[in-house]
Every structure is written in structure tokens, then in C-alpha cells.
């Protein structure tokens, strides 16, 4: 293997990348945009859901309950209406996601110590939102209800008891339930898929298409030198982008980073080799740049997006899909990322993810090396 020849190919690739506006944008701007996009744009939290109210009681107590609803960040009591049809209409035309009806005998029954029900009409077209609304409203009402109980105890002469045992919920790993912390680490996998697979998939196909490959293979340069010369620049760029994205995640989006930086680099390097090998392999077998790029997107980007656990949790997928994710390298990489960022899992315990990733790395690298031959037909 000649270092001069390898370097010549690598140098040529770098110059070509720098001179091609499209690939430059993908390599420099796209990773940053993706991180910002997913950090800000995708917000799975629900806040300020519009609520319409029909208060048939109009008492002090009903007002209290409504104030609590309003005080909660999840609701925004937009309007008070005076009849059922109005409430119905508000849900029909989407002005309200939920309608609350307080019965006419609300305060009377409370006074008499009888149970009372508050009616909630929920827009179920998006069942995710609906479940959330139901959950939140139950929480608010329950809170109110416990307070009534306490008040009752107090005012009926009983001594003020210490508050009954209350469950204080503290969410682990994602204290504020902020989605960005959940999503952003996975963006690294996406970025690498694009750089590693998509861009690389074009490289061999392009030389065939333009006719430069024919002349290249008539020179003494070896297949391995061509492969390494083409992939090493993308590897360097990819690792650089990983570090940049990680820094944006940590310092801009305040995503916690609790694990080992070294493990981050090593696992990223492994995944990088995986996607590079895939991209190279696709470039060799595809007949044209167009075909190569489409295959690359299909095999690397889409699965990284949909099935790696980056955005949608794997445990909640149908079983069949869960099995499919086992053969996706991205799944293991995303899993490592989340554990390093959010949990700070010690490296030794990451073997369930790192070993499969290493296997993929080896297999695909060998596959790519053997795929490319210096010959026509």
C-alpha cells in the first residue's frame, strides 16, 4: 500500500468536497440545522391546551375549581359559555380541546358531603393529546378533591390533621420532561447517516458516471487505496461534526452529559465506520448517483429516523418492528448515546450495545472492501 497514492486520492476528495457547494452545505450547515431543528422544533410536550367551561353552578366553589384549572400550565381556560350547544360547537370547530361542565348542584352537594362529578368533554381525534388531557384534568380535580377533604376535616371540628401521605412525583432522567434532551442525542446518529452514508454513496457512483473512474483504474492505485482515500476525509469530517453537535447539545440545549467522553468518541467512530462502509458499498453496487443516493437514504437515514429509538421509543413499537430494529446499527448507537448523555452509564455496562455495534463495524467494513474491483465488466 502506497501512502503517497492514498494521500493523493484523499487530497483530491477533500478538494472536491470543498468545491462542491452542495456537499459543503451538507457537511457544514446541515448538522447544525438538524440539531437546532430537533432541539427546538419538535416539542412533544403539551401546554396551554384551550378549554371552554360551562359553569351551571356559578358558586364560590365552582370558581375555585376553575381557578385551579387555569393556574395549571397545561390548561388555558379560554372562554365561559352558557349552554351545551355552545360547548359542543367549540369542540366541533376546534376552538377547544376540552370542555368542562360543572353541574348546577356542585356547591350544594359539596356542602352536604355528597360526592359530585364534574363532566369533561375531550377532543379525542388525537388520542395522544386526549389521554394527556384526561390525565391532567384528573390530576387537577383530584388535587381539588383532596383539599376539600382536608377543609372538611378542619371545619367540621376535627383537629387539623397532618396532611395525609402525599406522593411526590419526581421524574428521573428527564426532570422537566423536556423532549429536547430525549431527542437531541439521537440527532448525532442522523447527522452521521447523512454524512457517512448519503455523501459517501455518491462518491464511487459519481466517478463512474462522469467517466473518471475508467482512467483511474488504469493507474497503479489499488482498490484499498481508493477506498481509504475516499472514506478517510468523510470520517474526519463526520467526527468533527459529531463533536460540534455534541457541544451544541450540551451547552446550548443544556442536555446533560453524564458519561464518558471517550466512550462517546469510540462509539461514534464505530458507527461512522459502519455508515461509511454502507455508503461505499451502496456506491459500488448502484448504477448511478441517483440510485445510490436513494438507496442510501432508504437504508440508513430513514431507519435512523424512524426505527432507531431516536424519536419514537422502541418499547412502544409493534413487536415485529422491534425485532427489525435489532438489525439496525443505528439502534445500538442511539441507545449508547442516550445512556451516555442522560444516564451516565459506566462503559462496562454498555456492552449490550457496543458489542453488536462492533460486529456490524467489522462485517460491513469487510463487505465494502471486497465489493470494489478495479475492472469493467
Amino acid at each position: 500500500m502506497s501512502f503517497t497514492r492514498f494521500l493523493a486520492v484523499a487530497r483530491k476528495e477533500v478538494v472536491q468536497i470543498l468545491r462542491d457547494a452542495r456537499s459543503l452545505i451538507i457537511v457544514v450547515i446541515m448538522p447544525v440545522i438538524l440539531v437546532l431543528l430537533f432541539g427546538y422544533g419538535v416539542n412533544l410536550d403539551l401546554k396551554g391546551l384551550p378549554v371552554y367551561v360551562y359553569d351551571r353552578d356559578g358558586s364560590q366553589q365552582s370558581q375555585d375549581l376553575l381557578k385551579r384549572l387555569q393556574a395549571s400550565a397545561y390548561f388555558d381556560v379560554v372562554r365561559v359559555v352558557n349552554d351545551y350547544p355552545a360547548l359542543g360547537r367549540s369542540l366541533d370547530d376546534g376552538h377547544a380541546k376540552m370542555g368542562i361542565v360543572i353541574p348546577w348542584d356542585f356547591s350544594e352537594r359539596l356542602h352536604e358531603g355528597r360526592p359530585v362529578q364534574v363532566q369533561a368533554l375531550v377532543d379525542g381525534t388525537d388520542d395522544n393529546t386526549a389521554n394527556v388531557l384526561i390525565g391532567y384534568s384528573q390530576a387537577v380535580v383530584q388535587g381539588y378533591s383532596s383539599d376539600i377533604q382536608l377543609e372538611w376535616l378542619r371545619t367540621r371540628g376535627k383537629l387539623v390533621q397532618p396532611a395525609p401521605v402525599s406522593v411526590e412525583t419526581r421524574t428521573w432522567y428527564n426532570e422537566d420532561l423536556e423532549s429536547s434532551a430525549f431527542i437531541v442525542p439521537g440527532v448525532l446518529a442522523l447527522v452521521m447517516s447523512v454524512i457517512g452514508a448519503f455523501l459517501t454513496s455518491l462518491t464511487i457512483a459519481r466517478e463512474w458516471e462522469r467517466g473518471t473512474m475508467e482512467q483511474l483504474i488504469s493507474t497503479p492505485v489499488t482498490a484499498v487505496e481508493i477506498m481509504l482515500g475516499k472514506l478517510v476525509p468523510y470520517f474526519v469530517i463526520g467526527m468533527f461534526d459529531v463533536i460540534v453537535c455534541a457541544l451544541i447539545a450540551i451547552y446550548w440545549f443544556q442536555v446533560p452529559f453524564r458519561g464518558s467522553f471517550l466512550t462517546l468518541l469510540v462509539s461514534s467512530a464505530m458507527f461512522m465506520v459502519v455508515v461509511l462502509s454502507l455508503g461505499f458499498f451502496i456506491s459500488v453496487i448502484a448504477g448511478s448517483q441517483l440510485a445510490a443516493s436513494q438507496i442510501a437514504l432508504l437504508i440508513t437515514f430513514l431507519p435512523a429516523f424512524l426505527l432507531s429509538g431516536f424519536l419514537y421509543s422502541i418499547e412502544q413499537m409493534p413487536i415485529v418492528l422491534q425485532w427489525i430494529t435489532r438489525i439496525l446499527p443505528a439502534r445500538y448507537y442511539v441507545s449508547v448515546l442516550k445512556k451516555i448523555f442522560l444516564k451516565g452509564t459506566p462503559t462496562a455496562l454498555l456492552y449490550t450495545d457496543l458489542v453488536p455495534l462492533a460486529v456490524f463495524t467489522l462485517v460491513l467494513a469487510v463487505l465494502a472492501t471486497r465489493a470494489f474491483h478495479k475492472r469493467l465488466a
Binding site: T4, V15, R210, G211, T212, S218, P220, R375
Partner: protein, 315 residues
């Protein structure tokens, strides 16, 4: 196995087929150092396939190909240090500058920096391209691209150069410049194998192999081939060429007749005999004409004669 062979390129029984077509059919020829050898024939004759096999980028189905002493079927990589290949389509990088392309190919052949600088200056000077060093290859004119291709092919002083239709689409002046460079190379001992579909270009080669549908029709110097034709060629000019043809179509002694823009191109058995015959005939039929004279046969005349008579004259 690097002892210097007698011939720089040897092809023996070279054969290559693709689905449905026999592209190269038992081709045998050889090229010596310092010789410019032309593979001549229309599209589809097998020229590109032959060159690709000799360049070591396409394995032959059968036959032996030896370039600079290396058997390219068994050891393609061995030969590549000694040869240069210029494919039909521009094979350099349009998004690299002239200098960057040269450096790339120099590195691939292991040419050291000092040698590369000296040689590239010399070559670019000869090609008249000194001021274009920093220009992107994609922005060069067609003729300049060809010259750049040649410069990159010569940077490592190869013993053998394989050129696939290097002058297609190039205007006659640039073509002449290109050939000047080839002649100089030949005088330095380089073996040059070039292919062309321009039959008249065959005249510029030292020796020529005419290919037709993958087979060799003949192989010799242009002068010998013409001498072996055994026929003469006449050129008759007239402002009404069609009248000439109608009258002479069935005359005796003609083996082929072609209507040109301003006359008739006729292959006859014996010029001395037929010229006065035709003159007499045309005059008595009142068909106007300007001159009848004997001209040298062209390679195209040879080609047509060989193909239509079904015979093949081997060297």
C-alpha cells in the same frame, strides 16, 4: 518477467464478448517501441474494447495480451506502471485545476515532486497551456482538455500509451497539433496505440489495423495497403454529379462509385485504360464534366473494397 520484449504491445487471439455480440474476435497484432499504430474502424468495430483489455481494466474472454512485457490478463497491475490510458471520454476531474490534475496523476505513478515540476512545465509549455495552470479543467476548451489528458498521461514517462479516439470532435488544426506531439513521443521510443473512427486519420499512423465488427481486416503501413489494392482511383469533377453517375454506373471496369459533392469518386481496375474510355463515353452522351484524374486511394476506399468483396487482406 521484465525482460524487454521485442514488441511493446502484443495481442494474440484477443477475444471478448458481451450479451448478444462478439465485440472483439481473435484479434492479433503487435506494436513496437517508437511506433504509432492505429486501430481504425467505425463505431462498434471493437476499438474501445481492445484498448480496455490492453489497459488491464477489462479481462479478455480468450487470448493473450502483453503490454511492456506484462501479461495483462494475469497481472494487470504490473503493466500499469509502464503504460498510460486515455479513455474516449474525458477522464480527468473537471472540478480540479490543471495543476491539481497533474499532481494527482503524478502521485498515482509515484513521480517525485522535483521531477513532476520539471516535467509538467515542459509538457505544458509544449502544449501551449502554461497560462492555464490554475484553471479548472472543466473550464477548458475541448482541444485543451485533450491536451491536458495527454500531459497527465505523459507525466510518468510511460513506455506505452493507449489512446481511445483522442481526436473525435476536435477541429483539424488542434488535431494536427496533437499529432505533432505524438510524433515527437514516437521519436523518443514510446509505443503509441491510438484508435480512430476518422478513416483519413489512419494515414498519419506508421501502421494501421482496420477493424470491422471485431475482426481484423488488414494490418500494414498505409502505403503498402494502398499498393496492395491492385486498383486505381479516379476523381471526376462536374457541376452535375448525378448526371455523371447515371451515365457511368454501368460502365466497364468499375468496382465502386461514390457520389461526392462536386463529382464522382470511382475505383477502377486500370486508370490508364479507363480514363480515355470514360472521357469518350461522357462526351458522346453530352454529360458535362470538368476533369478526370487519378488520385491516391484513401483508406476508406480500401475499407469499402475489403468489406464489399468479402475478402480480408492480412499483412
Amino acid at each position: 518477467m521484465t525482460e524487454q520484449p521485442q514488441s511493446a504491445i502484443i495481442a494474440e487471439g484477443l477475444t471478448k464478448g458481451f450479451p448478444g455480440v462478439r465485440a472483439v474476435d481473435h484479434l492479433s497484432f503487435d506494436v513496437s517501441s517508437g511506433e504509432i499504430f492505429g486501430l481504425v474502424g467505425p463505431d462498434g468495430a471493437g476499438k474501445t474494447t481492445t484498448l480496455r483489455m490492453l489497459a488491464g481494466i477489462m479481462p479478455p474472454d480468450a487470448g493473450v495480451a502483453s503490454v511492456a512485457g506484462f501479461n495483462v490478463a494475469h497481472d494487470p497491475e504490473g503493466a500499469k506502471h509502464q503504460l498510460s490510458y486515455m479513455p474516449q471520454r474525458f477522464g480527468l476531474y473537471e472540478d480540479l485545476t490543471v495543476d491539481e490534475n497533474i499532481r494527482f496523476y503524478a502521485d498515482l505513478f509515484g513521480v517525485r515532486k522535483a521531477e513532476r515540476e520539471e516535467r509538467s512545465t515542459q509538457l505544458l509549455q509544449a502544449a501551449g497551456m502554461r497560462e492555464f495552470r490554475k484553471r479548472l479543467a472543466g473550464k477548458l476548451s475541448g482541444g485543451m482538455k485533450q491536451k491536458l489528458g495527454l500531459v497527465c498521461a505523459l507525466i510518468h514517462r510511460p513506455k506505452v500509451i493507449l489512446l481511445d479516439e483522442p481526436t473525435t470532435g476536435v477541429d483539424p488544426v488542434s488535431r494536427r497539433d496533437f499529432w505533432r506531439i505524438l510524433y515527437e513521443l514516437a521519436s523518443e521510443g514510446v509505443a503509441i496505440l491510438t484508435s480512430t473512427a476518422y478513416l483519413d486519420e489512419a494515414e498519419r499512423c506508421h501502421r494501421v489495423a482496420l477493424l470491422h465488427q471485431g475482426k481484423l481486416l488488414f494490418c500494414d503501413t498505409p502505403a503498402n495497403l494502398k499498393a496492395k489494392l491492385g486498383k486505381s482511383v479516379l476523381s471526376i469533377t462536374s457541376s452535375k454529379p448525378r448526371g455523371l453517375r447515371d451515365e457511368l454506373e454501368h460502365a466497364m471496369g468499375i468496382s465502386s462509385l461514390v457520389l461526392t459533392g462536386d463529382g464522382l469518386h470511382v475505383v477502377v481496375d486500370d486508370a490508364a485504360r479507363r480514363i480515355p474510355e470514360f472521357e469518350a463515353r461522357l462526351n458522346s452522351a453530352h454529360v458535362p464534366f470538368d476533369t478526370i484524374q487519378q488520385v491516391t486511394p484513401t483508406i476508406e476506399d480500401l475499407f469499402v473494397d475489403a468489406v464489399s468483396s468479402g475478402a480480408s487482406v492480412h499483412a
